[in-house]
Assembly symmetry: C2
Homo-oligomer: 237 residues x 2
DNA sequence: CTCCGGATACTCGCCCCAGAGTATTTGCGA
DNA sequence: TCGCAAATACTCTGGGGCGAGTATCCGGAG
């Protein structure tokens, strides 16, 4: 099959819990929360119960029994099936071994950066930088903190991974913001000019038409068509 | 408002196209593809047309005219409204300035790494490493290639960003795989032991119960409860 | 002349998911 | 002992997204 029988990653978390022992749904949420998994796996009630239904339908888990404690609502206890164990194993291996294409929001934003005036872009990137730094120091404190640092590293790899990625993003953003502020980024001239003219009231449509030859560089290389952009890093006087 | 009136990032791409000039839907897809945006923004027909309906309903875009060329199906040409321009601007600024919590698949995988036997984990990480390297060299070639390198840097920031992030992930994975192979990762002893016993047929449930005290370290610090894990990096003899 | 493949331009329907809502119960302070 | 907030354990609903399908037209090969 091309994709997983149940695609929501929460399903994997459910399988992982039941891998250890039978549980009822609410217990699964609290277990995941206790172990601090809820910020590497998106967890909410709505999805949980529907994901459990899907898992049952695919015979990856099954109802083990129902129990009731006092007058609380009935609990339905689920257990993993052999097929479920197999699926858990295969899915997890795939997640680790196979990078998948994702679409982070910031990448989307960057791909449209030219729409913002250069000074604004620089300022907004500085804001992001500050927020990334705050997040980073918070997570580093967590990692160094009493509770976590006493835990074997194995159980906090997702935290160290996230820290590593945050650092990389931080560095990239800092460098990009700096190069925009110093007017060094390739294309700065055109960029500044575009927004000058927009500010002076020229129509988007006209300006877009002028820019069109510069930014058409799709994935099919047609080297004969290349006009000379003749664009330098020279700051505008 | 807490969130954007139309949440799908594809809507932003549509607005960005119409920001330049009126277009019909199919033209939007081809434009985005030509500019190489389709691998920083998820693009498919199903979503495109529904997103356009949503944008119309929210008065961010409107029908400008319908035209027909030869006997081809009718084209509905859309134009951005003033509210649409404002939304585009605000949304883009938010994307740049405000980091948002995301749930990358690999982080999910890492958070469950302990379920795999250590040697398998190391091997799978090496596979990921190889694939990341392949992806990385491909993208670096693209960035250095004829077409792209002639393009002002401004218009390929999303590519350099992705390269930076791929490098960071690459480094993290390489380091992690290495430390597992050399049995250095904190918790290696417990980890190897757990899988030895599983292999010898002990029940998941028993073993999970034994491990429970070690891995309960939620976000509420209860320093009095800490049992001494007494776990070292010593490789199993 | 005719066939076929690819481009053009959208439509449909199912599955899925998220957030808000519900009803009970226990603990705890006043 | 009275209330009130937090915890327990789900249910419901509606919209959104995605893949697969549809229909037409043009151009070139044979």
């Amino acid at each position: 099959m091309a994709t997983r029988p149940v695609s929501n990653p929460l399903a994997l978390a459910v399988l992982a819990c039941l891998w250890e022992r039978p549980m009822y749904p609410y217990e699964i949420t609290t277990t995941l929360r206790e172990r601090g998994k809820e910020d590497s796996i998106r967890l909410n009630f709505g999805s949980l119960y529907s994901v459990i239904q899907q898992l049952v339908k695919k015979d990856l888990i099954e109802v083990e029994r129902t129990e009731r404690e006092g007058n609380r609502p009935e609990r339905i206890v689920y257990a993993i099936t052999p097929a479920g164990r197999q699926e858990t194993d295969a899915w997890l291996r795939e997640l680790i071994a196979q990078p998948v294409k994702e679409y982070p929001a910031f990448e989307t934003g960057l791909s449209l950066l030219a729409m913002l005036p250069p000074p604004d872009a620089a300022r907004l990137l500085q804001q992001r930088l500050a927020r990334l730094d705050a997040d980073l120091t918070e997570r580093e404190a967590l990692a160094a903190g009493d509770v976590v640092s006493r835990l074997p590293e194995l159980f906090v790899v997702e935290l160290t991974y996230r820290i590593a990625m945050l650092k990389a993003e931080r560095d990239y953003v800092a460098q990009l913001a700096g190069r925009i502020e110093r007017r060094e980024l390739g294309g700065f001239g055109l960029w500044a000019q575009l927004h000058d003219q927009l500010a002076q009231g020229r129509s988007h449509q006209e300006l877009a038409a002028e820019l069109a030859p510069v930014l058409t560089a799709g994935d099919d290389p047609q080297p004969d068509e290349g006009a000379a952009p003749g664009e330098g890093h020279r700051p505008a006087p």
